[in-house]
Amino acid sequence: MTAPSLESLLAVATEEDVVTDELAVLKASPTPFDVDSWAITSVPRVLLAAFARAAQKLYALVPKIAAGGFVKLAKGDWLSLLSEQNYDEERDSATFCTRKVRVTDAGGAPVTIAVDALVLKTSTGLVFTSRLNDDGVTAPTVPASGFVDVNMLATKAGTAYNGSSGGWEQVTAIPGLTFADAPAGVVTPGTDDEDDDSLANDDAAKWSTLGCGCNDAAHIYNAKHAPGLEGDEVTRVKVRRHTPLPGQVTLIVAGPTSSGADGADALASDIVDAIQEYIDPTSHLGKAPTCVDVFAESAKNKVIVITGTVTAVSTEKAYAKALAETALNAWAASAPLGAKISREKLIGKIMAGLSDAEGNDSTIATPAADVVLAANEVPVFDFTGLTWVDA
């Protein structure tokens, strides 16, 4: 028997598909059933429909089973299982956001806030509870007629808790206090569960660990998996062969964020140090083969200043501006080292949230052309010079 194609196994059958199959099979009997004469409300058609409803649940398992064998195709729990069992890779769980909230006393007595004693919610109903001070020992105390910045922990994990609070409302009932975002804002951003694409890439990257550990793929894997890293601090690695000398290797590393001054390191030094210790053959943690000099180096920020004017109809302007800034930041945070930043693509992202309505337009002065980053550079977009005006 000819094996079915993967595509056919991945096809999801509907109840109607199953009924169609049923009718075709009955019609193909050596003593064919006269299915065409069966009214939709006839007993056999109703029985077939009921059968199809149950059988479709079985049909639906087939594509899940098929996809579940491929890390590129498996989704959700199927991929988690495959990753765990075949690659010893766990899906990174979502983490909780911690942020500072300034708590001000309106003129009463000092108030000490124990863990969980203060519960606040944002304007969108996201709930945070109080935590100890940064020393991890003492509880924050609001001085009389003064203020203190309190660590507040999200009650659920995820990135949804990282956004603007929109103002704070107390859920508990501690009197005489007011609340506002502290300057420090989000101290530790929350993260979502690792997505399927990221986990699948981790699985595939694991193959590089089977060799001696010194080809490009192995170096990239090691840079992303140095002990002490949480798992997502390093997302971009460029292997520079014969750098600084022939026979030596330098890994340029960057993370999933994009900020900082032009020419500044894109990645914190402690992260780079952790990688260096891991890949240094003289280190007790060394992952590089003996006699191979491998160096870790942070990527450098390349600030790309965007100037110009976006003219937008007033009903679309705020949404389009927010969308553009989010898209640009996401692009910068994921652009490969040494990437070419296309001016056309950049303008496309700026205009993505605007309709074809008359009056929507843009004049982008800079960058005036595509920007080609150096091999050790990652982009940071500065769009403070991009003006949004009403059409």
Binding site: E7, L9, F33, A66, A204, C212, H242, G247, V249, P289
Partner: protein, 233 residues
């Protein structure tokens, strides 16, 4: 198959239908059983499809992506599936001379590696810093390329994306790129590869006949010889 121990739904349902429903009822049950048998077979195939021995054509690319093993230009499905099956072994040999040679052999290409201490390429032989890391893969058969009969007779450069790489005839862009990617994957990042040498006729420094330097004639001696260079790393 005994009806009291059915392994097929069509047998089970046909046997389960009461006798009073007659042949029509039995046939009806059998036909519905066929549907369920189809689903069961689909589930079996859905499990098998992930294994290289059974994987259909369109599943190979996904296995290849997962295992970091790209399909060689013109490689047949059975050959690619076999190579995917050996991916674990192949991966364990990355960063080694044998890894390069074996992976070329797996796609039907005969090759050898020459290290810096095995010949005097440019007056910097031996294990001397910074030249110790140099390595030249030398391909002697299997690519199906040929020389144009003249050394350096045109403006071809050390250009790996050219379709006419230093006097090669028949080397398409995809094939040249595949050769370079294979070498890139199977060698360590610290390995300095000045060039990938393709010998299309004759004997280059005793390849493929005598191994490395071992017949005492180590020279560009077996004229005529046609070689080409693909840019290294």
């Amino acid at each position: 198959m005994a009806s009291d121990d059915p392994t097929l739904f069509r047998d089970y349902l046909a046997a389960w239908i009461p006798r009073w429903m007659g042949d029509v009822g039995r046939e009806f049950g059998l036909r519905l059983g066929l549907i369920l048998d189809g689903v069961a077979q689909g589930a079996i195939e859905a499990v098998k499809v992930r294994f290289t021995r059974y994987a259909p054509e369109d599943a190979l690319a996904f296995l290849g992506w997962e295992r970091g093993t790209e399909r060689w230009p013109g490689e047949s499905s059975p050959a690619y599936a076999a190579r995917l099956q050996r991916a674990h072994t192949t991966a364990s040999k990355t960063d080694s001379d044998k890894g390069v040679v074996d992976e070329f052999a797996a796609v039907g290409v005969t090759a050898a590696d020459v290290r810096n201490n095995q010949w005097d390429w440019d007056g910097n032989p031996g294990n001397v810093v910074p030249w110790w890391a140099r390595l030249w893969p030398i391909i002697t058969a299997g690519l199906g390329w040929s020389g144009d009969g003249a050394w350096d007779d045109d403006a071809s450069s050390w250009d790996a994306v050219s379709t006419d790489v230093w006097d090669i005839v028949g080397a398409g862009v995809d094939a040249v790129a595949a050769v370079r990617r294979l070498v890139h994957k199977m060698t360590g990042s610290h390995t300095l590869i000045p060039a990938i040498i393709v010998a299309m006729s004759g004997e280059v420094w005793d390849f493929p006949l005598g191994g490395v330097w071992d017949d005492g004639e180590g020279d560009w001696e077996e004229v005529p010889v046609e070689i080409a260079y693909l840019e290294g790393y």
